[in-house]
Symmetry: C2
Subunit: 351 residues, 2 copies
DNA sequence: TTCTGGCACTCCCGCACCCAGAGTGCTAAA
DNA sequence: TTTAGCACTCTGGGTGCGGGAGTGCCAGAA
């Protein structure tokens, strides 16, 4: 499928116009808005060819043409000129992340920033624990048999988990166990820690030192149901999606919102982007999820200390201003990654 | 405004029927479904009186009647017979809370339980910190100047906050400070702690013991921006609201969903319920929030160790099955309160 | 006095119909 | 290869009509 230059230009303008006002584009309008000095009749001939190729279609006989998913694909892959971010917009975005050292809060900022600037729904995945490495662990006796485990990961997030032990542990024992744990496992990735722990636990526990045994005991609580729903999503601006006319159908809208609250499908989708190591754009049904039928998803992974740990992006109608959305998503990923990495160094000013 | 028994019965049946199928109720239908042996003509006379009183209205001349907000008010206040929960439903609900000792998780369960059982949106406010009392506090050195403060409140929730100190603190210092803090302030309510701290800090810091000084230093970080958005809402099942026909109007729907993501108005509303110390029902515009125009809100406060700490409830169309919803909200409040109180005792089985 | 049957009236709703407008596809000529 | 012209098609809004549902009122029955 090769398009000559003129067809490309026409396809490009057609999609741009359609994105602008959502109306099927007629041959006359196209003739007027593309620079070429051609009559509507000529345009019609070209459009017939483009329709043949499956790039555009007409909703009915006497309407103009609208892009198909394939048309958008070609547009995004080869025709789109991404417009770089303006200075002021850039500064405004940077401002959102300045002086904030709370990781959870940073992710919420990123999500709401995405949705506000693009007027679409913003999504940010919270770093998967397996990906990030352990920085520090502490055990704290709460009551007789209950111990609070505090886990600080490399991205600066603090995780709590209360576990119920089968005997009472003294404060000294717990400190000792934590020290052992920190000495042995700190700076290793959580998945690695998990592997190592499982191996250790196979050994006869009689042979262990006391500290080690206690640490193992605590770790058991950590290992069991740790990853259930920890991998989480921050979503914001869903309500922007309610005014997009393509989803006037309440039923489709409902499916979409269910996807937002279930989160599972979205997490899967974003996982793909996590592995892909670069900006990704899913157009319409391409994502494979029925709820996203009429939607496109633009995602970019973000890095903490050079390591990809999560993804963020936006969800909106297939008819979205890609050339505008793409640089915003890209920049937000950089800014969030930067802010999360920066905080490891820690701020230098006083409280 | 006094209604005779017959008018009351007719109003009650009319509203029940309208809640059932959402259609305006005609005199003939009403004559058939109320036990009374009256002709439609007689019913019409009574309906004219009820309309005069502002309890019902007709959408247009030749339609039946539908209840007004005032009508609903009278209905829920004086006519409604709440149907007690069935055994099996009760057990099912209890099951949701069994063997769960994670407060955050319990609140999410409560919210999703509410929405699943009622098929409306469920809301649960997270306990206000001021209301609950301090159980335990610990300080943990993260890096040079950064200290992790871990705060365990009476309801079992664990709060983290990273503060940046203006000098390095040794582990021993931090332990000592935590001990001092726990000895002095434990079991007091957080608002009380805050008051006492402010008083202490006015004194000359030279006079303080070292531990106390350190504790004060840490506390400063806690006091500053603590209550910003901590008071939070757990919402679920919003998408159920999309299929209620009264909100077919996308614009109203959007306002409602904005209210869900802003959360502020909802928090205000629930705060009223917190103070009212009992089940509350806001019908239509009564709540005073425009977004809730066509909605009713049913709320009940829940208690931890006898003390009201939060509220929960549902939001749905004014035309909701109150006699069904009310006992569910009531029971959920008891169950959540119970589960949160129970966990303070702690489970007895091993890990 | 209260209830009821009857009747005229009103309004909604679905249906068919028509018409203007917009846009296309095709053909023949430049 | 491009273009003008023309016939054709589809949409959407407006209109008119008839049936159905329900009311309000009145006069007579209980």
């Amino acid at each position: 499928m090769t398009l000559n230059q003129r067809s490309e230009l026409l396809l490009k303008t057609l999609i741009e116009r359609y994105i602008m006002d959502g109306q099927p584009v007629a041959s006359r309008a196209l003739a007027a808005h593309t620079g070429l000095d051609l009559s509507p009749a000529t345009i019609r001939n070209v459009m017939a060819d483009l329709e043949e190729l499956g790039l555009i279609r007409s909703p009915h006989t006497s309407a103009g043409r609208i892009p198909t998913a394939l048309g958008y694909r070609v547009f995004v892959d080869t025709l789109l000129k991404v417009r770089p971010l303006g200075e002021s917009e850039m500064r405004r975005m940077q401002g959102e992340f300045a002086n904030d050292y709370n990781p959870q809060h940073l992710m919420e900022s990123a999500s709401s920033l995405l949705s506000q600037v693009t007027r679409l729904a913003g999504i940010v995945t919270v770093p998967r624990q397996e990906q990030t490495s352990l920085r520090q662990i502490e055990f704290l006796a709460l009551s007789d048999h209950r111990v609070l485990v505090i886990l600080v990961t490399q991205d600066g997030r603090v995780h709590n988990r209360v576990i119920t032990a089968n005997r009472r542990y003294s404060a000294a024992e717990l400190v000792e166990a934590a020290n052992y744990f920190n000495d042995t496992y700190s700076t290793r990735s959580l998945s690695e820690v998990k592997r190592m722990l499982l191996r250790e636990m196979e050994k006869d526990s009689d042979a262990m030192q006391r500290a080690m045994a206690t640490a193992m005991q605590m770790a058991r609580g950590l290992l069991t149901d740790h990853e259930d729903r920890e991998a989480d999503l921050v979503v914001s601006g869903e309500s922007y999606l309610m005014q997009i006319p393509e989803l006037g159908n309440i039923d489709k809208l409902r499916k979409l919102f269910d996807a937002f609250s279930t989160k599972r499908d979205l997490l899967h989708l974003l996982d793909q982007s996590l592995r892909a190591d670069g900006m990704q754009i899913f157009i319409g049904g391409e994502s494979g999820y029925q709820a996203l039928e009429e939607c496109s998803v633009v995602t970019a992974p973000y890095r903490v200390d050079g390591q990809i740990v999560g993804t963020l992006g936006v969800i909106g109608p297939t008819r979205m201003a890609y050339e505008h959305v793409i640089p915003i998503v890209d920049m937000t990923a950089r800014l969030l990654g930067g802010a999360l990495s920066a905080q490891n160094a820690g701020p230098s000013e006083g409280a």
